[in-house]
């Protein structure tokens, strides 16, 4: 039973008018929230960046020492930081989001703060990526023709700057993607999560089959060939903005305890 009779909602006009702060005024605080523990967004990615690079340099030098002069060695070590940041973004959804609720941020402010923080970190990654390319060029791949960043498919159309912008864009997309899966897991049951995964796999399979059946792959390769790092980064950023909007729609009804 409910023995408390409530005749009308008390909404005094004075209370309604009292608040005048901007609804976005706490975005800087939500941005800083992501950097509350500096190891999370700064030190760990830096350790991974230089650690993976160092390992790749070591492997390249070793191969060159064993095999002698030969083909240029291209490695995928530059991806390590992107994967690391994708996981850190997922952590942000699983750990920082519940804390942001205790700090009474609206979900909108939290997502915008997270997006700006991820964009800042991604920009930093893009800048480091460009610097790493210059270092590799200056040293001829650390005197072993071994490259982790100066990769032809990244730099050939737009040079060092374009490569950095593309790397930053891909990093931001990866972070929003990691954030998305973590927040989706919080929002839906495990069964629904896997149904969504399977549905996406099925969608991709159907796309591949349609392209193959209609013999459209040459068009796809042609389209990819005319893209520069700049235009490709633009497409990735468009995808990222769509992911950010999707993230907000998912988090809007997510509960911090789930």
């Amino acid at each position: 039973m409910s023995n408390v009779a409530v005749e009308s909602m008390a909404a005094p006009a004075a209370q309604e008018q009292a608040a005048t702060r901007s609804s976005l005024s706490r975005i800087p605080a939500a941005f800083k929230l992501q950097f509350t523990v500096p190891s999370q967004m700064i030190w760990v990615p830096l350790v991974v960046f230089f650690g993976a690079w160092g390992i790749a340099i070591g492997i390249g030098a070793w191969i060159r020492h064993v095999a002698g002069d030969g083909d240029i060695i291209n490695t995928g070590a530059s991806q390590a930081t992107i994967w690391c940041l994708a996981f850190i973004a997922a952590y942000s959804a699983s750990h920082t989001f519940p804390f942001s609720m205790a700090l009474s941020y609206s979900r909108r402010v939290f997502v915008l703060g997270a997006f700006l923080a991820f964009a800042t970190v991604s920009a930093g990654f893009g800048a480091l990526f460009s610097i790493a390319i210059l270092v590799e060029r200056a040293t001829d791949g650390f005197w072993a023709e071994s490259y982790a960043f100066d990769l032809p498919f990244v730099t050939q159309n737009a040079g060092v700057l374009g490569a950095g912008i593309l790397a930053g864009a891909v990093c931001l997309a990866a972070m929003m993607f990691g954030f998305f899966w973590s927040i989706l897991y919080r929002r839906v049951s495990l069964v629904v999560l896997w149904v969504i995964v399977l549905a996406l796999v099925a969608l991709m399979a159907v796309t591949v089959m349609v392209l193959t059946q209609n013999d459209w792959w040459p068009h796809v390769w042609d389209w990819l060939a005319v893209q520069s790092s700049y235009s490709f980064a633009g497409w990735v950023l468009l995808l990222t903005l769509a992911l950010t909007a999707l993230n907000y729609l998912v988090i809007r009804r997510a509960v911090p305890t789930a």
Partner: protein
């Protein structure tokens, strides 16, 4: 006095359960309210909905006159640290306090530092590695130092030892006296927070059983101890909440205050009045509400049993 928290016909249904059912509630501003109930009664759900961490399936919520969901006008005025709050991974207590300082406009860093010393919160231990009590202390400190206009504490004593619990009660009262605000404390240690709270809300199975000022609630019942026939005579037709018989001596808790003539009769018949503890009263009232067939016991039958 104006209203700080208002719920109107709020229900929260999950697939297999109903956590809140048609709850209407109005809590006054600048008072300490106790939200009492058994485990699973709906206390945390109610607080989650009031703070926009969760949302109602139906009904309306207003905090300080505004809907809280996604409302940055009112959210900075609310603080709700959960019983098992998650923090940023690898965070130390100072990280949590620094984040809270950014979020709450009325945050008092000096008070937070003082409370951290008093609660002996370790400075160099990650929150996730702290003991349950230390983690609770971090939440309690955020709740008090935030000075949020509407502050919720969800069973804040979990894991705290007796000294730390008393410290929490003392510091909360001190700070409340100097900075009045609306505080809601959920608990099932009713007697422990009885001296703290001004208003009681009892929730059970997702429904509000009662909402009353503490003093008014205490006046609703008395416990009489004495000879069975004398107690039965004074009790008359009053509703008996609880009855214990120890040979010829009985202890009966019943609803209704005593008038002067009845008090005189108590003295004449050597019947003693024992104060009813808030916990006892709420447990009895809750049990009564739970009973599907509420009956007013005939005291003579009860005594004879």
């Amino acid at each position: 006095m104006s209203t700080a928290i208002e719920l109107k016909r709020v229900s929260r249904r999950y697939r297999s359960a109903t956590a809140l059912q048609d709850v209407s509630l109005r809590l006054e501003k600048d008072a300490i309210h106790g939200l009492l109930g058994r485990n699973g009664a709906g206390k945390t759900t109610l607080m989650s909905i009031a703070t926009a961490q969760d949302w109602p399936s139906s009904g309306e919520v207003r905090i300080l006159g505004q809907r809280p969901h996604e409302n940055e006008q009112v959210l900075p005025k609310i603080c709700f640290v959960r019983e098992e709050q998650r923090y940023v991974d690898d965070a130390l207590a100072k990280h949590a306090f620094s984040a809270a300082a950014q979020a709450f406009p009325r945050w008092d860093a000096e008070l937070a530092a003082q409370l951290a010393r008093e609660f002996r919160v370790p400075e160099k231990t990650r929150i996730k590695k702290m003991s349950r009590g230390q983690r609770s202390a971090v939440g309690v400190i955020i709740g008090i130092a935030s000075r949020a206009e509407v502050t919720f504490f969800d069973e804040p004593y979990m894991g705290l030892d007796a000294v730390a619990r008393q410290l929490f009660y003392d510091r909360l009262l001190e700070d409340y006296a100097s900075h009045p605000r609306t505080v809601v404390i959920s608990s099932h240690l009713i007697d422990e927070i009885a001296h703290l709270i001004e208003n009681v809300v009892v929730i059970d199975q997702g429904q509000i059983l009662l909402q009353e000022p503490v003093e008014q609630l205490r006046d609703r019942a008395v416990t009489l101890v004495g000879r069975a026939d004398a107690v039965a005579e004074i009790a008359g037709t009053r509703e008996v909440l609880h009855h214990e018989a120890m040979g010829r001596i009985v202890r009966t808790t019943m609803l209704g205050a005593l008038d002067d003539s009845e008090r005189q009769a108590l003295i004449e018949r050597d019947v003693e009045i024992v104060p009813v503890s808030l916990q006892q009263l709420i447990v009895r009232l809750t049990a009564r509400e739970d009973a599907s067939n509420q009956t007013t016991l005939n005291p003579s039958q009860e005594v004879a049993r």
